[in-house]
């Protein structure tokens, strides 16, 4: 106990020698980045990476794209706070999370094609472990809404086998863990108004306009 208090007074972290020593042992940024890249590759080879993520630039802002070994598990908009979402994933799935673009190469490519208007359907393995129950049923029916068209919350409730669960459909859409790829943006209000969207109403309008133009 007294040993800890004793040693604090002997440390001179601003000491020129320690500063010079620290500098003499520093690594080039590029070398450390290369080491990190090898670390993530090895982590993937040894099945130690429970979530791999990357940031994909898009016309609706940078998207956080995260995949488990089973498939795409989360897409997050910038306004959700990418760091906050990664912290959530650490608690919900596993803290073994690293930035590793390779696992989501297919997702990034298909998103690029989608935003360029060249892709109308996503063909990706999905990991829907973050949603369960009726929400999951709703999410799994959303890809049935064709590219370029929209459906009302009420229509989706009917598709999901529970015509009265209109509000639950809205809730399921707002908890869609993989927006854009699972097209909750195609679900609008019965009166034709656009409704809410996790990425913001502007983003929802942009996506609907993108699909009607292509």
């Amino acid at each position: 106990m007294n040993t800890d208090s004793m040693n604090t007074d002997t440390v001179h972290t601003n000491d020129a020698l320690v500063t010079a020593l620290t500098a003499s042992l520093d690594t080039d940024r590029a070398d450390l980045d290369a080491l990190r890249a090898r670390l993530t590759e090895r982590a993937e080879d040894e099945a130690l990476l429970d979530v791999a993520y990357r940031i994909v630039d898009s016309p609706i802002g940078p998207l956080l794209v995260a995949a488990s070994p089973a498939g795409l598990v989360r897409i997050a908009f910038e306004r959700e706070g990418h760091d906050a979402v990664l912290d959530q994933l650490a608690g919900q799935i596993s803290p073994r999370i690293m930035r590793m673009p390779a696992r989501t190469d297919d997702v990034a490519r298909q998103l690029d094609e989608y935003f360029a208007g060249r892709r109308h359907e996503f063909d990706l393995p999905l990991d829907l472990q973050l949603v369960s129950g009726f929400r999951r049923t709703v999410i799994s029916h959303l890809p049935d809404i064709a590219y370029g068209s929209t459906a009302s919350y009420k229509a989706v409730a009917e598709m999901a086998g529970n015509p009265t669960a209109v509000r639950a459909v809205g809730s399921a859409c707002s908890h869609n863990p993989v927006p854009v790829v699972v097209p909750c943006h195609r679900v609008v209000r019965s009166d034709g108004s656009i409704g809410n969207y996790l990425g913001g109403v502007d983003v929802k309008a942009t996506l609907i306009a993108l699909e009607s133009a292509a």
């Binding site: 040693n7 002997t10 972290t13 620290t22 500098a23 003499s24 450390l32």
Partner: protein, 176 residues
């Protein structure tokens, strides 16, 4: 309260762990191996770490063991240089030509490499990793005063070396 993503652990401590590995091992190649082994090992154990743990001390403990593995592997290798445990500078010089002791940094690193292993470890864990002498004593299997003495002796030896280049520069300036 849960553990943060492992990526942030590498962000925060990757550079520090590399400095420690370089100081303890001398050779940059051995240090890179120890660094990689440290973080792969840490990643494997990470989900079981208690969220209130001292991640820095935990990582340095792993790095300490991985560096010892490197030193042992080096001792097993059929090297002509004698006593590599206490003199890794011979080996470091082979694969790291920049450590020729000409520059100040190179001179300092050569001096670190010439320290006895225990002093190198104590200096690294105290001054690069900011561990307490109690923690260092546990790692080096010695008493707290012995840990303190090792760090102090190591720093004293480095201080003697470190001051020389600037002195000789001054002397040269005066005579020219």
């Amino acid at each position: 309260m849960s553990l943060p993503p492992f990526e942030t652990v590498v962000d925060e401590y990757g550079t520090m762990v590399m400095r420690v590995c370089r100081a303890v091992l001398g050779s940059d190649i051995a240090a890179e191996d120890a660094w990689s082994e440290t973080f792969i090992s840490a990643l494997r154990a990470y989900p079981d770490l208690r969220p209130d743990s001292d991640v820095r001390a935990w990582l340095v403990t792993i790095a300490h063991r991985k560096a010892i593995d490197q030193i042992r592997a080096r001792n097993r290798a059929p090297l002509p240089s004698a006593d590599p445990l206490d003199r890794p500078s011979d080996r470091a010089g082979l694969d790291e030509p920049s450590l020729d002791g000409t520059g100040l940094d190179g001179g300092l690193r050569t001096a670190v490499n010439r320290l006895p292993t225990k002093q190198r470890q104590a200096v690294a864990y105290r001054y690069l990793a900011d561990l307490s002498y109690a923690e260092i004593g546990v790692l080096l299997d010695c008493s707290v005063p012995a840990a303190r003495r090792s760090a102090a002796d190591g720093i004293a030896a480095l201080r003697a070396i470190d001051l020389q280049p600037s002195r000789s520069t001054t002397r040269r300036k005066l005579t020219s």
